[in-house]
Subunit: 490 residues, 2 copies
């Protein structure tokens, strides 16, 4: 635990892996590409989930649960969808094991072969639209506004904890509407819910935009996204919201009768964020000492550590901290008093630093005598001696200040790493150092593909606040109506 992390400047990727391990967030399982989310990591995910869940319900959505298994034939019903997902799925072919005839253990029972193979859901559009077909007859049944919290599986070849794993946890909203406009508004609304969550809880500024055709979700007519910039200058897609048009309604024959009795296919959206957000959170704020958490999502917001030489001192300090814990609890602030006698103070300081606890309080005999406590801020690594009495309101202020500072710091970082470039030469020269690059593009797949092949950079999005600006594509010189955002990405 006392081992130092590799620094970000030395090896960002190594730093990330070590940090996830040191802060006890997650680990690889023996199952290829599947992670174990450890209690501390899961507690952060729970906080994210709870905040998002409230926002979904406030916008009229209800939770439900659909099967893990998708019949193979469902995937094929939407042509582009199967193209996008068939290549990376786990396939269930049998439903029983039996003792091996040679006594060597258990083997698949060949007689228990499924007539039709089942796919572990990589996303649930198909199984859900197959159900909606029975739920929707008339305009009175619309809209359907459903969300599901679930695990999904995509067979990834290269995996990284939280960022890309074979199994991951997510939520997926699936809505059905009577009109195109309403579905488009829903997709837009949910994108803004995500953006609000990213900024105001994760303290992570995001660009709002739409994907180019080649980067769209398989089966969508329009994919909206939020894009964040990590400290190494790489972009991370943090959430997507899809306008699906009538594609899935057509594939699953879902029609409704309008007020005049006229039949039409239903309009759809889907939208999701996943445990990938954990990776985004880690990489946005953390430093060479470990995790840095915004107070809004910290499972422990304040930790109290006693410094003592004997039981009398410990008891006196404990009294203070236990009383403080109660009053913080009544203010909705989570406090942990760590009086574990098996661990030394230095170990504890390092431990909570690496776990990103926003405020650390330490009290020794002299502090006790003087009515003081030491307050350390994780974000700035500052500490000061302050009066213990009335510290509750100071803690509230400091937590708010940390939340604010983290957001401002990441906004500043993004500002300092967003570049306007006009020539492909300049682009190629600068792209490796990272950042968002605002450049003119001729709007063709060919140019996008060429840039990707030559630089590994992709168009992250066409910004929602796209500014009309006459220009010339940096590659082909063809006319362009405005700049799009390029970056290398996770």
């Amino acid at each position: 635990m006392s081992q130092k992390l590799t620094s970000r400047s030395e090896d960002y990727s190594k730093w990330y892996n070590e940090l996830v391990n040191k802060a006890d967030l997650a680990e690889h399982s023996d199952v290829r590409g599947c992670m174990i989310i450890k209690p501390y990591g899961y507690a952060i995910w729970e906080k994210m989930r709870d905040v998002l869940d409230v926002k979904f319900k406030e916008t009229g959505h209800q939770n439900a649960y659909f099967p893990l298994f998708i019949p193979k034939s469902y995937l094929s019903k939407e042509a582009s969808h199967v193209e996008g997902f068939a290549k990376e799925c786990a396939v269930v072919t049998h439903y029983r094991l039996m003792n091996a005839p040679d006594g060597s253990g258990v083997v698949v029972d060949p007689s228990a072969k499924l007539e039709e193979e089942l796919i572990i859901r990589p996303t649930s559009e198909t199984i859900i639209w197959n159900s909606y077909k029975n739920w929707i007859q008339s305009y009175r049944d619309l809209p359907i506004l459903i969300n599901q919290w679930a695990n999904v599986v995509r067979w990834e070849m290269r995996t990284r904890l939280f960022l890309r794993t074979t199994e991951f946890l997510w939520q997926e909203g699936h809505t059905a509407h009577a009109t195109k406009q309403e579905a488009m508004d829903e997709a837009d609304q949910m994108l803004h819910v995500y953006a609000d969550f990213a900024e105001n809880y994760m303290a992570m500024p995001v660009l709002l935009g739409r994907k180019t055709e080649s980067e769209r979700f398989a089966g969508a007519e329009d994919t909206l996204c939020i894009e964040a910039l990590m400290q190494d200058g790489k972009a991370l897609q943090a959430g997507t919201s899809h306008f699906l048009g009538q594609n899935f309604a057509k594939a699953f024959d879902v029609k409704f009768a309008d007020k005049e009795g006229k039949l039409d296919h239903v309009w759809a959206t889907s939208w999701g964020v996943s445990t990938r957000l954990m990776g985004a959170l880690i990489m946005t704020h953390s430093d060479d000492e470990g995790l840095v958490l915004p107070p809004s999502l910290a499972p422990i917001q304040v930790v109290g550590i006693p410094i003592y030489r004997n039981d009398d001192e410990l008891n006196a300090i404990s009294d203070k901290f236990i009383t403080l814990g109660k009053s913080l609890k009544s203010l909705g602030i989570s406090f942990k008093f760590d009086n574990d006698d098996n661990r030394r103070q230095g170990w504890k300081f390092a431990e909570y630093e690496s776990k990103g606890v926003p405020i650390r309080l330490a009290m020794g005999p002299r502090d006790l005598e003087n009515g003081n406590v030491e307050l350390a801020r994780r974000d700035l690594k500052t500490k000061e001696i302050v009066a213990f009495d009335g510290i509750e309101s100071m803690i509230q202020q400091v937590l708010a200040a940390i939340q604010q500072n983290l957001l401002q710091r990441s906004k500043d970082f993004r500002t300092n790493n967003t570049f306007i470039v006009d020539t492909y030469e300049e682009f190629k020269e600068k792209i490796d150092a990272g950042g968002f690059f605002m450049a003119h593009w001729d709007g063709t797949n060919e140019t996008e593909e060429k840039i990707k092949n030559e630089t590994q950079a992709t168009i992250r999005c066409i910004p929602l606040d796209f500014v009309n600006e006459e220009g010339k594509c940096m590659v082909t010189g063809a006319p362009s109506k405005g700049r799009v955002v390029f970056a290398k990405a996770y």
Copy 2:
């Protein structure tokens, strides 16, 4: 929606299926044995989950998440465990689909065969203990108190919504301890957490007991359980808590060093409840009109229905109900005002009755004039005209009374359907009519098996409050130290 349910007395099983459908709780999916939990059903499950989650955390547990997939070889490591679970599992053998050469759709890509097949978890002891191996070195690492909310799959041949489905949702606690006593205490503690939840939230009285050897969890040394009695006289196992001894620690070689440095295997428990509780909740309280919900778990506790002939009347009534909704919200009471103009009052009355909403308020022009409202209780099907002013405190009292009444009613039912029998003749005569039967048993597997074969009744549990009473086994006449509980069961 207006169709009446089959009555319980006519066909209990049909009544159950129709009720689950009519109350919009769940439905079968096209995937064999897998259910879709619809928003209203899921909202009840969410409430259950949230209450239990708080109780788990209050008793020191943390949530985490382990992989969906279990390597086939893990299952074999604990001998009795594999016997219990290998026969009913979903097996993943491939990780990719490809376009069929004949263009007919997608088929399994034969080149993407897994070296070792993966099992969809039927329960997670093996994958979790394989991880604990790396987490535990010394007594300082103990206890580990972890819970997981997850989906699991058991390939059931006969399925019923909520009661027995191929995929279901559950929580599974997995704890590791330094001593046998501590693990046994943990198993006992969690059983009491379940019993408290069943009684005080589900309003469902339960017997606490232990399973006989033949009914134990595969891999457990002792299985504790809570058993409830449904209205048709059949028992339902509502939760189990297992003392696993050192079985899994030995299978996965998990040892710890005690304070003296001596190595020993770790002691374990696991415990779980599932969406099966939804079935128990439905069958404990509901009646021929539909679902009856205890207020503690009702997503909507109070519904307000306006009765009006024109917009002026609707507006005046709406004002009243909207104001009431706000004050109920501040009291933590969930209220729905149903002003849907597309539905008639009679339809609404039937709808909320079938959905088990505990209190229905209806207000018409005359009520408005007189300052009254009609209050109907779902449990007793009574209604009365009461003064609207100050109705909040009355609602609080009525909700508490409903909760209390439902518990008392199901306790009385159980009392009236618990029988002491001394002869196998009497047992066989009465068992088909249902109920708990307290009888002497000689303690052998053979006798238990004989009774099961001849009557389909099983020993539900040996009660924790087992009374020492000399007697003779009702079947063999061999001596017995006390009575155990028999019933036919779900």
